[in-house]
């Protein structure tokens, strides 16, 4: 089940400069595992030592923050777009 993953600038050194990656997986968790398989080292940049998403990273599925869905267990379907976005300031 391929989904499109948008990679932010700070992680593109690991993805050979690619801003968009095709990945497989039925949930965010399994997509992260697939990203790690394709680009070793990516997982530890997204998850902390306890396996939780790092505090300053937000992940969106089709523009929706996964914290409003089922977090890392959020189900994905063919063609979904997953964005990895660093937290940014406001006002």
């Amino acid at each position: 089940m391929p989904v499109l993953v948008r990679i932010p600038t700070p992680l593109r050194t690991l993805t050979k400069g690619n801003a968009e990656i095709q990945a497989k997986g039925g949930t965010i968790d399994s997509v992260v595992d697939d990203l790690e398989r394709q680009f070793p080292g990516l997982k530890e940049r997204l998850l902390d030592e306890t396996g939780e998403l790092r505090r300053f990273i937000n992940i969106y599925v089709n523009q929706e923050d996964i914290r409003f869905l089922q977090a890392k267990k959020t189900a994905l379907k063919d063609g979904d777009e997953v964005s990895i976005v660093p937290a940014i300031a406001g006002g």
Binding site: R6, P8, T9, P10, L11, T13, A19, R45, R54, R55, F56, I57, N58, Y60, Q63, D65, R67, F68, S83, V85, P86, A87, I88, A89, G90, G91
Partner: protein, 415 residues
């Protein structure tokens, strides 16, 4: 004087050169400007500051500008007002209002951050500035871009108050209204910032931009006669301002400009309809749960505040607290400040006044201790919030007898 060491990750401490970047490549932590305080100690003194201009630039040595100030020369040094009438109303001894509702040139504290960010954008050679905004930032970026002769792209939620839309358009930016919440606009901007080489003041320029907020804190302390208040109540949206006011006080301490210890308690004020930071404080957890905003305080309507974690830590570290205000309480707060002190603030100011009142009533802020309320925006930008609450005016024909009758009517109504 070499005062800057570039940038440093706030979480893992990795160093980065001075560049328009905002995120640590390793842990995604926010980058912060790293000052050489040893070089500043003894150079920045109460006297050197007093000899500076009557603007935020009297603290230029503590802001991340290498060269000359490029835009916003008159921003800041807004009045700190002893609010005796409000203090009476709240049953308190010493209440001050730091009034950024009259900040030059766009009437909110955002001029402080934007003048730093736009000056920095020019230093780095950018020709376009941009931002995601709930309104005040939009006004300020558009105005300072005009002054700096830069192009500007401003992204706002499509349902923003009309006053804030017009007060942005007047400066001639490209204004993009996005059908979505501020958080959705912000996420979009993060992706746009990755693609286009623009100076996004609240994205890739965030480390520089956010430092401008410190000037609000420096001024409070200087205007109190180099005294720190016992309490500061700060409205929170993204959570940066409260963090930077606290940082400002700590820097003044590091530089030996204040004698007393770090005794100020920092309190966060948010709307009940969008209060994820205050919820963290009340639940005493450092995990932020994002919310979907539903409040009249649109300038504070950020459901996923980037600095929420640090805002929480600031209140915790300083021994402060936080309080939510309902929409009704927000309006009451606006009216209370206007009717006691003659200051017309926007909804965010109503949040601050209402939250302060509740913290006082709960006994969290003792009535005999000094309190500073941070009023950060102007009421003329959001008159809609009061539309249903204000009495109709007296309408008469131009004759003395008509006035006499109207006056008699008014007196009979109030007696």
């Amino acid at each position: 004087m070499e005062k800057l060491n570039g940038l440093r990750c706030r979480e893992c401490g990795r160093h980065y050169g001075a560049a328009p970047v905002h995120v640590c490549e390793f842990c995604f932590g926010p980058l912060e400007v790293d000052y050489r305080y040893d070089a500043l100690r003894g150079v920045v003194t109460r006297e050197s500051i007093a000899a500076g201009p009557p603007s935020m630039w009297r603290y230029k040595d503590l802001l991340p500008i290498d060269g000359d100030v490029a835009v916003g020369h008159h921003v800041g040094f807004t009045p700190l007002i002893r609010a005796r009438n409000l203090a009476d109303e709240l049953g308190c001894r010493e209440v001050w209002v730091k009034n950024d509702s009259v900040c030059h040139p766009t009437w909110s504290f955002k001029d402080r951050v934007v003048s730093v960010a736009v000056t920095k954008a020019l230093e780095f050679g950018f020709d376009t500035v941009a931002c995601a905004s709930t309104g005040n930032l939009a006004n300020s970026v558009a105005a300072h871009a005009a002054e700096g002769r830069l192009k500007s792209y401003i992204f706002i939620p499509a349902d923003l108050e009309q006053g804030k839309v017009l007060a942005t358009l007047v400066y001639g930016p490209t204004l993009v209204a996005v059908h979505g919440t501020y958080d959705e606009v912000n996420r979009l901007c993060s992706e746009i910032a990755d693609k286009y080489r623009w100076a996004f003041v609240n994205v890739n320029f965030r480390p520089y931009y956010s430092e401008g907020s410190k000037s609000h804190g420096f001024e409070i302390v200087e205007q109190l006669g180099w005294r720190t208040p016992a309490h500061i109540v700060v409205p929170c949206a993204g959570g940066s301002l409260i963090t930077k006011i606290w940082k400002a006080i700590k820097e003044l301490k590091i530089l030996g400009l204040i004698d007393e210890g770090l005794k100020t308690k920092m309190h966060a004020a948010q709307a009940l309809g969008c209060g994820p930071i205050v919820t963290m404080i009340k639940n005493d957890t450092d995990v932020l749960v994002p919310v979907r905003p539903n409040t009249i305080a649109k300038s504070l309507a950020i459901g996923n505040p980037a600095d929420g974690y640090y805002a929480y830590k600031t209140t915790k570290e300083s021994g402060g607290s936080g309080e939510h205000a309902t929409d009704e309480e927000i309006v009451e707060g606006m009216l209370l400040l206007a009717r006691t002190e003659g200051i017309f603030t926007e909804t965010a100011g109503g949040v601050t006044v209402a939250a302060a009142r509740k913290l006082i009533e709960r006994g969290v802020i003792p009535r005999d201790e000094s309190i500073v309320l941070c009023i950060t925006g102007n009421g003329l930008k959001t008159p809609d919030a009061l539309q249903d609450r204000l009495d109709a005016q007296v309408k008469i024909k131009p004759s003395l007898s008509a006035f006499d009758r109207a006056l008699a009517d008014l007196k009979s109504q109030t007696s």
